[in-house]
Subunit: 213 residues, 2 copies
Amino acid sequence: MSKPNLQIALDHSDLPSALKDVKNVGDIVDILEVGTILLLQVGDEAVKCVRAMYPNKKIVADTKCADAGGTVAENVRKAGADWMTCICSATIPTMKAANNEIDEIQIELYGDWTYEHAQQWLDAGISQAIYHQSRDALLAGETWGEKDLKRVQKLIEMGFRVSVTGGLDVDTLKLFKGMPIYTFISGRGITAAKNPRLAAEQFQKELIRLWGE
Amino acid sequence: MSKPNLQIALDHSDLPSALKDVKNVGDIVDILEVGTILLLQVGDEAVKCVRAMYPNKKIVADTKCADAGGTVAENVRKAGADWMTCICSATIPTMKAANNEIDEIQIELYGDWTYEHAQQWLDAGISQAIYHQSRDALLAGETWGEKDLKRVQKLIEMGFRVSVTGGLDVDTLKLFKGMPIYTFISGRGITAAKNPRLAAEQFQKELIRLWGE
């Protein structure tokens, strides 16, 4: 089983603090995400800056696109993004239009999506999904539960490469041991650490310990 | 029955062309929308510019927020927005967090939302919803059908102020005659017209003809 990717989510409200954090950890992580908050505040300039700093890294624009998929995808691709996200409640034509304009689309799973929807995404040529631990559960002090892990496993079995995110830290990675997770996404789990670079290194070390090189 | 509002959606990919269009019609329409495409490209600067140009107009930031509602709402409020949109698949805590930070939230109806969800939004203190004519239907050459009108009517009866959008032009407004629509949203129906100012004036004139002053 290959080592899952580590993705840093830049969910900052301003460009300087995002660039400071990405400079610290960009070389260590596998995928750089320009988060929704940052995009809504700074626009495609954020993607352009991260691309200029890291010409060879995979970059995701977390647009959570719900409509006008072709235009949004074309815009972020031109700014330098490899991938972008669509919200699960977008229509299939929106997803397809986006998928035609950029290398890959990832479906953001929020709310009451179903496996029937998931099959429609696969049928539309989309094979990446992002599973969020519910904010309700996190606020209630829960961590990743059996229900979450079963859903992730089912999506993997359907043929998705699944990214997981939400309240992840180095200690929670082992909950997923034995599962072929594609990517772990962390934002403040890395950027809010006392030493973000060390935190990113510890994430990678733990991923290698659990999944191998 | 009071005249529905007319909202211009600025769905441009760059700031200058958005500002050109809003300058032409901003005084005629009732509500100015900084569209998702524009936000993702330009960031909150777009909201700030429109607010500076129109200090007394209602401004909506079409964030289609799916997560981090409190942060996104605080950011767009600080930039000058009165209202913002949340995607229907956002969780209730996300919607509530946004609603606490800004004057009003509007729920964007995409995908398989249910009236049960809609009641949860009302219970959370959210009473604006935006009904989109399906893109599939528009691409297939359909216009607003009975099914759409029934759904809009049901939402109004539940207690929502409902905005409608998707392929609207002056000729389609009469389909809604007799229904207390809160707002008609038009983007290219106005901005792509030969004379956008005239198009906006014709929209308003038709609204007054059908609903009264």
